[in-house]
Point group: C2
């Protein structure tokens, strides 16, 4: 017998996309979500290899929740799903840019995007109001 | 003597912008740079409190280089400066969105932005070419 007869001994087929990603010591990579047609930066979250694989397979964005320590299928509790339009990797492989279509709002506060506080004269002001209440989003109302 | 006579004993004046940022265990916060008028996401890098303070004071974007372990004034060796137009903080304070005007190119490869590799049919393709050679950018040519 030689190695050719032992396919189970071969390494798993490589995935050039996963191989290009430089996951950090915790197995995570930063992922920016941008609305594909307007350019609005919606949020930043983290992905692990499984969430990248699932996102590419399903076309629905799946992150890794650091606080909950598990896969986080965006919209699974709020209904505010992100549909993948394109996945890009930066020059050094440690950041992903996800071009998506965002159903509804991206932010858990009910705002369209998470970057609703802006620096003005040394302080922060809110530049966007919620479009929907968190209670309505998460059904705790 | 009482405390009022010892101004040097008082804590430093608080900065509401720095206070809103949740720096990680290494004292860093993720910062996304976006071209302010076109919406193009240029790059993602890291800032510490000093680089945020300097950026707000000077209007020129200063990151913290994790590889070099020091402040990184974007463009200091390449001439490709980022001019701050707006600084925004996300809902949980662990990501900044910098709206900037980018002089020239943002990526050290000479491309306008760092996200020039896109997933296509399970592989990566390059979707942008360098606009200037790295040798020209960094004077090693």
């Amino acid at each position: 017998m030689n190695d050719i007869a032992k396919p189970w001994a071969n390494p798993a087929p490589t995935n050039p996309i996963l191989e290009a990603i430089r996951f950090d010591a915790n197995g995570l990579v930063a992922a920016i979500a941008q609305q594909h047609d307007t350019g609005e930066v919606l949020m930043m979250a983290w992905m692990n290899a499984d969430s990248v694989t699932e996102t590419l397979a399903t076309g629905r964005v799946c992150y890794f929740s650091r606080s909950r320590g598990k896969l986080w299928r965006k919209g699974e509790s709020s209904g505010q799903t992100q549909h993948l339009k394109d996945l890009r990797i930066d020059c050094d492989g440690d950041t992903l840019l996800l071009l998506v279509h965002q159903d509804g709002v991206a932010c858990h506060t009910g705002r369209r995007n998470c970057f609703f506080r802006a620096a003005r004269d040394g302080a922060l002001i809110e530049i966007a109001a919620p479009e929907i209440s968190p209670e309505k989003l998460y059904g705790h109302g």
